[in-house]
Symmetry: C2
């Protein structure tokens, strides 16, 4: 699902004139915010429940350079869910384009901010996530999932 749209800001670009690695993750982090809004963990939901999501772990593949002022879209794919955790994939694209610019796999933990300590999703949030997950279940998993970093064998 299309979850976030943005434009590359001048302060996100490095000395090469390209989006700096950390700002790809900032765009994905804003996509996580948008997903939290959609699941009922927006500012009002967080204030009412005392719940939030923390990122436990993420993986990023940088596939293409992105220049300032480029219009971008983030598409989200839910991969797996348990009582407290959500695994998902984000893909970054130019607006209206199909070429994958970057991918991120993420593991998010549902927390009770009073601890903070891990806590089960509220039923309404869990049901929303389970419905989204079921709707995407038939499609193959994206390419950049389950990745391990390593140097490939030297080429001759």
């Amino acid at each position: 699902m299309l979850i976030h749209s943005t434009t590359v800001a001048p302060e996100w670009v490095d000395y090469n004139g390209h989006l700096r690695d950390a700002y790809y993750l900032l765009i994905f982090s804003h996509a996580t915010d948008a997903l939290m809004d959609a699941m009922g963990l927006d500012a009002a939901g967080r204030a009412a429940s005392g719940h939030s999501l923390f990122t436990l772990e993420c993986h990023l593949n940088f596939l293409h350079e992105v220049k300032v002022d480029t219009r971008l879209e983030v598409w989200a794919r839910l991969l797996a869910l348990d009582a407290k955790r959500l695994q998902l994939h984000f893909g970054l694209y130019r607006e209206g384009d199909t070429e994958l610019l970057a991918a991120s796999e993420q593991l998010l933990l549902h927390v009770d901010l009073a601890g903070p300590k891990s806590a089960p999703f509220a039923p309404a949030v869990y049901d929303w996530l389970a419905t989204q997950l079921a709707a995407q279940q038939g499609e193959p998993w994206p390419e950049h999932v389950g990745r391990v970093i390593g140097l490939p064998p030297a080429r001759k």
Copy 2:
């Protein structure tokens, strides 16, 4: 090796009052800049050679929350090297402390900016990296290397 020190800026903190995930990576990205300076790919070296490093892929583990104004240190460990690629590990710590706050494994590609296309490290840069790698060779690899994201089996 200690490669970078910084202080958590107010604009890096999210609605939970904690360092946002993307800004952990920004700190590691600044650590990569510092490592590039050390290997001779500082601004002058880039201008003279037309060479730079691009991040191909990275993995992040977020282990502890970090609050605004905290003084932080990044320690770098080189893991592997070939003619064009460098695999490394960064650990984030509070200044003078030994508790690991976050870890990142990264795969960096040496590029000729004229393409941009991948290109072998210049001999002086390669030799510096190989010397650093050899000096750290005896130590065991850090825990957060070679990670695959996945949901653990459900607990009862």
